[in-house]
């Protein structure tokens, strides 16, 4: 064919084909359209994993296409089954958290030998010695007559009102569980969903860092897919678009930064020291256990029971004390912890401020002081155990702060767990609030699915914000006030708080209300 004829035929073609003949760039399709997922969860901690499990356990949402991204290695089991060693990161799970975990089928996969339920709690003031004792008898609200009866100990009226039968579950205040145990149980549960029918597999990308989160590109024309309002997560595995992006990625959440949600609060200028301790006697599995917490002016110290003769320590104290504690030998560390429970605050501050570097100096300092400090003068509970040792390598510390995000939801975005709020560990509520968030968000998504909503729209997500923001704010506020009230070392604040604690100890209904709030009763 002659070239003029060819040219004429070419010019007769429609413009799009003519263009594609001349330029190669117009011919190539846009580089890999992002794969669309229903829910993308960034963060594979307890909150993220439990959220994904909860979604998969409901029939309305079990067919969801879900992706889970975490920068840590999730697949290798990090729990050792050694009865003699426990991780230093343990959490206290409230009964409502347990109910949620049982509901999604994760609790049965937790190694029961490594969890410890405790049935009572002793809290006392390090400065004035005033104390309060929580146990299952207080949990049941007995009303005004009960409160009057409690005020007259030893009376027949009081004896006639006491009910002694309690079910085993009701008797539990909370359950201690290692964080790694819980995480691996949740992971196991998520993997088990793969074998169930009608349940789509969860795409799990661990050891994957999120490179960036952006909104999608503008649509090319009216007919093509418009992802300009959808979050696109870029990782080494490519780009994925999320109908709902859930941020469960910890206190410095990239998802929260992408959403532009500010998070207000302050640093506590305290460090939390954790360790696994050995006690003087071994408890069997069916014995009643008690958790202890003493409020010192530098911060509260808590001893939480673990199976056998183990216990978990959480001690919030000044950064200088935390550094000193981490530098001590095991014998000195044990002596310092014993001192923190048994001696006066003056002695404790002296022991931790001394710059002596001789080993066992703390143990000597503690030994003669303990003999000189009668337990009744400091309010020490009668059955408080002696701490005989610390598991090597477990003392560690982390800075404490309080943060609360302004809102938990955005367009196609939700925050749960530490990404939404950070709280002081003195009430052991941090993980429980995160699990409650996961439960509430899952419930809201199921509701949205059942009512035909777009799960990423604010119409669906506002319900989650409305349910959880106020409750979390109240808990954060109470814990912050407790921390501030118990920071005073002397003066009218000490008198006031001792009086308040004494009153609450005697008023059953008030104590029951506090216990119920702490247990997350809904």
């Amino acid at each position: 064919m002659s070239s003029p004829a060819l040219l004429k035929r070419f010019l007769a073609l429609p413009p799009s084909l003519r263009r594609s003949f001349w330029s190669s760039s117009a011919r190539a399709s846009p580089a890999g359209k992002p794969e669309i997922y229903d829910v993308v969860c960034v963060g594979g901690g307890p909150a993220g994993l439990s959220f994904v499990s909860a979604l998969k356990s409901h029939s309305a949402t079990q067919g969801f296409k879900v992706a889970l991204i975490d920068s840590q290695d999730l697949t290798t089991s990090r729990t050792v089954n050694d009865a003699d060693s426990y991780s230093n990161r343990c959490s206290s799970l409230t009964p409502s958290s347990l109910r949620f975990l049982k509901g999604i089928g994760a609790w049965e996969r937790v190694n029961g030998d490594r969890t410890q339920a405790y049935h009572a709690m002793d809290v006392w003031d390090g400065v004035s010695g005033s104390k309060i004792h929580f146990d299952s008898v207080d949990k049941r609200s007995t009303g005004l007559l009960g409160a009057i009866a409690e005020m007259v100990p030893g009376s027949r009226f009081r004896a006639s009102r006491r009910q002694y039968e309690t079910s085993a579950e009701e008797a539990v205040v909370a359950t201690m569980c290692e964080n790694s145990s819980l995480a691996s149980a949740l992971l196991q549960r998520v993997k088990d969903f793969e074998t169930e029918e009608q349940t789509a597999q969860v795409q799990m990308w661990d050891k994957t860092k999120v490179d960036s989160i952006d909104l999608g590109p503008e649509a090319e024309d009216e007919k093509s897919l418009d992802l300009s309002q959808w979050p696109i997560v870029s990782t080494q595995h490519g780009q994925i678009a999320a109908r709902l992006l859930v941020g469960a990625d910890g206190a410095n959440s990239p998802v929260r930064q992408f959403a532009g949600i500010p998070s207000h609060g302050w640093d506590y200028n305290q460090h939390g020291v954790v360790a696994t301790l050995h006690l003087d006697r071994t408890f069997s599995a069916n014995e009643l256990r008690t958790a202890y917490q003493r409020f010192l002016p530098t911060g509260p110290i808590a001893l939480l029971p673990l199976p056998g003769n183990k216990a978990s320590l959480v001690w919030s104290t000044t950064p200088q004390h935390a550094a000193k504690l981490k530098s001590l030998s095991p014998t000195d560390f044990t002596a310092a912890v014993n001192a923190a429970f048994r001696l006066m605050p003056v002695d404790i501050n002296y022991m931790l401020a001394t710059t002596t570097t001789t080993t066992d100096s703390q143990a000597e300092e503690f030994a003669w002081r303990e003999a000189a400090t009668p337990p009744s003068s400091t309010g020490l509970p009668p059955n408080f155990p002696h701490i005989t040792g610390v598991q090597l390598g477990t003392p560690a510390s982390f800075p404490l702060k309080m943060r609360h995000a302004d809102t938990y939801t955005g367009h196609r975005l939700a925050l749960i767990g530490d990404a939404a709020h950070t709280i002081h560990p003195l009430a052991g509520q941090g993980l429980n609030l995160g699990l409650a968030d996961a439960e509430a968000l899952a419930k809201q998504i199921v509701y949205g699915m059942e009512h035909g909503m777009d799960i990423g729209s604010s119409w669906c997500l506002d319900g989650y914000n409305s349910e959880r923001w106020a409750a979390n704010h109240a808990m954060i506020g109470v814990v912050d006030k407790l921390k501030k009230v118990y920071s005073a070392g002397s003066g009218p604040v000490v008198w006031g708080r001792s009086l308040g604690l004494g009153v609450v100890e005697r008023l059953g209904p008030v104590k029951a209300a506090f216990m119920g709030a702490a247990a997350g009763v809904r």
């Binding site: 207000h264 302004d406 809102t407 912050d480």
Partner: protein, 253 residues
């Protein structure tokens, strides 16, 4: 108004006489300059009389007798104490002014800056209190306090106290430019005044008790400062939280 009329009169005089007539109305800047020293606070005759009168204060107290003796010693007539219309209070003010201006010469800090601002403030206050002791005035200082509390003298005394507080913060290296500038100077003025009063009753060796008193007051300022700061921070947080709470419940604000 008087300066304007003198200015007008001096400008109506012959041009050659202008420098002579204007020398008393040299303009003084209202700011402090690092390049130019402030003119001395007292003119030479007054400064001479007051400094020699101060030497008599341990024996005669803050009275006009000390002023008269001081005038006599410097070679002026006894009646020269009329130069000081406020009498013995001028002697007190002279002591305060010279000690305040001399504070930078008494105590200097090395440039490394390892000392915190708090410790520098403490050292400066102690140095200023020590100056009271070294000039021998501390035994008679209660009279000075009484003079300073007279109604006609209160404004001048407060001005001197605030100037001293400002000087101490300046020498300690304070560079704040927000409202804490005012709160810091107010709290330091209160602490200094309390310590000075306490010093007049202190009988311990080397004024140890005054030092301990000062440490307790500074600790209180730190505690209250922390508490107030925390409360303000909390109030701001709560205000934002109320708005966020209402938004979470569906209110469009």
């Amino acid at each position: 108004m008087a300066s304007l009329t003198t200015l007008r009169n001096s400008l109506r005089a012959p041009v050659s006489l202008h420098p002579f007539l204007l020398q008393n109305s040299t303009p003084r800047a209202l700011y402090h300059s690092y390049e130019h020293d402030l003119p001395p606070p007292y003119r030479n005759p007054e400064a001479a009389i007051l400094s020699s009168a101060l030497a008599h204060v341990p024996n005669h107290g803050f009275t006009t007798i000390a002023l008269t003796l001081g005038a006599r010693e410097t070679g002026y007539l006894d009646i020269s104490s009329n130069l000081f219309p406020k009498g013995a209070f001028e002697l007190v003010k002279y002591h305060l002014v010279t000690q305040r201006l001399g504070l930078k010469n008494r105590l200097q800090f090395p440039d490394e800056g390892r000392l915190g601002v708090g410790r520098k403030v403490r050292s400066l206050i102690l140095s200023r209190l020590q100056a009271n002791v070294e000039t021998g005035v501390v035994g008679r200082w209660q009279e000075a306090l009484a003079l300073m509390s007279l109604a006609e003298n209160i404004p001048a005394s407060l001005r001197e106290l605030s100037a001293l507080s400002d000087e101490i913060w300046f020498l300690a290296g304070d560079v704040s430019v927000d409202s804490s500038w005012y709160t810091k100077r107010a709290s330091l003025a209160a602490v200094y005044a309390a310590a000075e009063v306490y010093q007049t009753t202190d009988t311990s060796t080397g004024f140890r008790d005054t030092e301990a008193f000062l440490d307790r007051r500074l600790e209180e300022v730190r505690t209250i400062g922390g508490a107030v700061g925390g409360t303000v921070e909390w109030a701001g947080f709560q205000a934002g939280a109320v708005v966020n709470l209402m938004r979470s419940k569906g209110l469009r604000i």
